[in-house]
Amino acid sequence: MKILYLDTSSSFLYCAIIKNDECIGEIKLKLEKDLSALALDEISNLFLVTSTKPDDIDKILVVNGPGSFTGIRVGLTIAKTFAWGLNKKISTLSSLDAMAISCKEDYDYFIPVIDARRGYVYSGIYDKDNNIVLKNQYISLEVLKATLDNLPGSYVFVTNDDIDGISPITKYDPDFVAIVQKFKDNEEINPHGIDALYLKLTEAEEKLNA
């Protein structure tokens, strides 16, 4: 069983090929604005160095957000085209899920945060057994911090963004094997039906609804 894991929801390209719970090749690369140009080229190189053919993949696990809108679409478009084209299974997971499960430090709660600008973040709260305490949402940082006062234990923020006023922080470094083990059985979706988890309307829609 070979699983292709893909996350382009930030300025990093995170990609791995997991074979029977073992990582046979991985990419952790900060690409920033070059992500859309280089992601697929890097992925094709990963296939090359691991002597994997696209058709060898049994399933794709792709992060569908939240994060950079463009980044989310790059990964989703690659994943859904790959899955549709070669008739492969596909499931999604949230970027915050991946961040929380990857953190191995000794805290009671893990709070992955992604900068959503203007004082807002995408976040959720997970306990040390990875149960969701606060669901994924677009939330004011101040409101999030106020929520933490009620947590009965120690906590740590998990992020790769520069966000002022939060501590303690641990950098996000994906544990691909742990992520895939935990989420590989997420609901399989018809590739056409894969959609993004933006957690936020566009500004035009917000104005129209106001």
Binding site: S36, T70, V74, T81, D195
Partner: protein, 334 residues
């Protein structure tokens, strides 16, 4: 000779489209999913919303196209995709999908310039003859292009400010006839008379255009008449506007044809659907013995058939791209 089937993908604005074209001339199947109803609520295309819909629809559109053609990806020789110019977020969806297909099926990837696509829509009507002048008129472009031969472009000039289609949309908004304005104004222009005295835009010796002054003149005219409590005759204003626009475009097009001693003209782009413009060009081409082609309406607006058609000529020259191909919001025609 073996038939060549190109799968084209286009997502540069608010249409998600896929098409299969044989040998750069025969349309096998085309699917176009337009988002126009969604963007009408906002009075124009909202780039982020367009991108979100492209990613939802892209694989369905490609699948529908293959089903309509009764073909599989294995029968496709190469994948042609619009890489620019256009809305960057929209372009990226078509581009990533095309790159992925190229990767998983190990097929050549062909980068097509959107305007080259519009010009090559004419090859689906009849084989283009060179040298030619292409007049590209759309919501984003007003360009005169000289083509010496297949896929050799020289841009002679273009708009210095608003594209002609953009100007139609703005005028339509000012006189309150909705979005998109082009088809409505074109129709209204057949009902009125040229009674309003409007400035002639950039009537000089260049191949450039300028429509912002004309647009401002109409905004001021409507505003002043409202202030005076006078009602605008919308049909007459539409006729006056369209005649001024069509006159300057045809005048400069004819100048380009004469300056380069060219006997072939092709019309391209969304505004190529404008009947007033088509008819006037027909007239001047008849008078000047010029072979004139314009695409049917379905190939005027954004579509992947034109991308696959243009892609065929790049395929013949082996002009492929690697997987590092990126989308470009603005890029020279080449």
């Amino acid at each position: 000779m073996k038939d060549i089937y190109i799968l084209g993908i286009e997502s540069s604005c608010d249409e998600t489209s896929a098409s299969i074209i044989r040998n750069g001339t025969d349309e096998i199947a085309t699917v176009i999913l337009s988002q126009i109803d969604i963007h009408t609520n906002f009075g124009g295309v909202v780039p982020e919303i367009a991108s979100r819909h492209h990613v939802k629809n892209i694989t369905m559109v490609i699948e529908d196209c293959l089903n309509k053609a009764n073909m599989s990806m294995n029968e496709i020789d190469a994948i042609a995709v619009t890489y620019g110019p256009g809305l960057i977020g929209s372009l990226l969806v078509g581009l990533e999908s095309a790159k992925t297909l190229s990767f998983i099926y190990n097929k050549p990837l062909i980068p097509v310039h959107h305007i080259a696509g519009h010009i090559y829509a004419n090859n689906l009507v009849k084989t283009m003859k060179y040298p030619l002048i292409a007049l590209v008129v759309s919501g984003g472009h007003t360009d005169l292009v000289y083509m010496e031969d297949e896929y050799k472009f020289k841009r002679l000039g273009g708009t210095l400010d608003d594209a002609v289609g953009e100007c139609y949309d703005k005028v339509a908004r000012v006189i309150g006839v909705g979005y998109p304005g082009g088809p409505v104004i074109d129709k209204m222009a057949t009902l009125g008379s040229h009674t309003y005295n409007l400035p002639i835009p950039l009537d000089d010796n260049s191949y450039n255009f300028s429509f912002s002054g004309l647009k401002s003149a109409i905004i001021n005219l409507v505003h002043n008449e409202e202030q005076r409590g006078n009602e605008i005759n919308k049909e007459d204003l539409a006729t006056s506007f369209q005649e001024v626009v069509v006159d300057i475009i045809t005048k400069k097009t004819l100048k380009a044809l004469k300056d380069f001693n060219v006997k072939n003209l092709v019309l391209a782009g969304g505004v190529a659907a404008n009947k007033g413009l088509r008819d006037k060009l027909t007239l001047i081409c008849e008078e000047n013995d010029i072979d004139y082609t314009f695409p049917p309406i379905k190939y005027c607006t954004d579509n992947a058939a034109m991308i696959a058609t243009a892609g065929y000529f790049l395929y013949k020259e082996g002009r492929f791209s690697d997987l590092q191909l990126n989308a470009k919001s603005s890029v020279e025609l080449q």
